[in-house]
Amino acid sequence: MTVWMQILQSFPEAFASGLLISAVCAFLGVFVVLKRLVFIGATLSEAAACGIAASFVLGIAPVAGALTATFAAVTLLAGNTHEERLPRDSVLAAVFIGAASLGILFAAKSARGLEEVKSLLYGDLILTSGRDLNLLAVCLVPSAAAVGIFLRPILMTFLDRDAAKVLKVRVVFWELLFFYALALAVSASSKLGGMLLVFCMLVVPPMTALLLTQRLRMAIVLSVAAAWISVACGFYLSMISDLPVNPSIGFFSCIFLAAAAAVRRFLKT
């Protein structure tokens, strides 16, 4: 039996969830990178991890904990009315530190202990069940669809906020829609993907794509393609070398980014 047959027969849900998480995060990540908000990926992932840790203590569903925490983080960030004094990235950092600290404290209090922190950070796609995959699809598909369908007003809002407002684009609404869609995607992906994989997919494949193209739609396509190839390579490496899947995917994402940077450099010269 080939390695691929083994992956598809033994871990079909794990592989499918890897493709789903990577596609949606890589799509949304194009806007995260262009909006110069990469740190929001880490912050929301950390908030989701904190929510999952809290759910172990409170005895609620992990995805409910993650959703509550990420939505609270987005609401907190949207309500930052001190932008003239505090830059957005410093507020993101404060939320990140708060969520990380609280996550560790919750994990320490839960019956599973600090070992849980490790799994929150790194996740494990291999453990995906059929139910996990269904839940992922229910959360990720609508969040990607919302951004895809409303791409025009979201893009106008991000590109030139004031001009969009003058053209009667409801900028606050579209901005919030994007960030809540992002929060939904991150919170649903965090239990299986862990902070590392989710953050990686929000940032690295979009960077790879933006190095290779100057067209937005093509950047989205290339970002998703780079993410999928990373998932396939990561699973393959994991199977043949008995390594954990999520860091293997992250490793390949960075390899492709380095390759794209080299290609770009070569084309420039």
Partner: protein, 232 residues
Amino acid sequence: MKKNFASAIAIRCRNLSAGYGSERVLSDVNLDIPQGVFLPFVGPNGAGKTTLLRVFLGLLKPLQGTLKTSFNDAAPGYVPQFKSIDPLFPVTVRAVVTMGLYTRLGWWRRPSKEQRRQVSQVMEELRLAPFAEKNYRELSGGNKQKALIARALVSGAEVFILDEPSSELDEATERDVFHHLISLVRERAKTVLMAHHGIEHPLVREFDQVCWVSQGQAKLCSAAKLAREGGV
């Protein structure tokens, strides 16, 4: 430039005050701006030119007073500085210009054949057609500014509001941009309101009338007189 004061009013404000938070930048401004004129807003830095234009655009709520505009619910044509578009975004010049159609398209409709032709025609007029499929960030400052003028033109606005559009352009490019703006007034009877950094500028001196903004006040006055006296 021969002014063309029509009887209709484009913007009327009475006892208008505006500012940011508790800071009042403009107080008790009373203005009647007629339609079909090119009116530069001049005055020292920080005097409130941009603040006043942002109130006209609906981007800033007046703290006090009344504002009536001829465009009411329709969108005015806003032309910000070309740097307002983040150069990181990979968008073509055509995509930027097409954004002007948003009030007619909304978030779902695709531009019709006629609307696409209109976009191409406006780009042709502003000599942007060769750059239509280029990335916005690849254009020169002058062409970027013209792309934003084209976006405002495509929106079908009657009143154009520009915030220091030539502040970072060289003299020749600035003259070219002015030429296009003046033709909007002369050939299409549009109203153009433009914040500009100085009355000393030779292009501004060509106008009969300017709006002088200083010390929290704004008033229409003769450009020649203002230049002679170095301010009101």
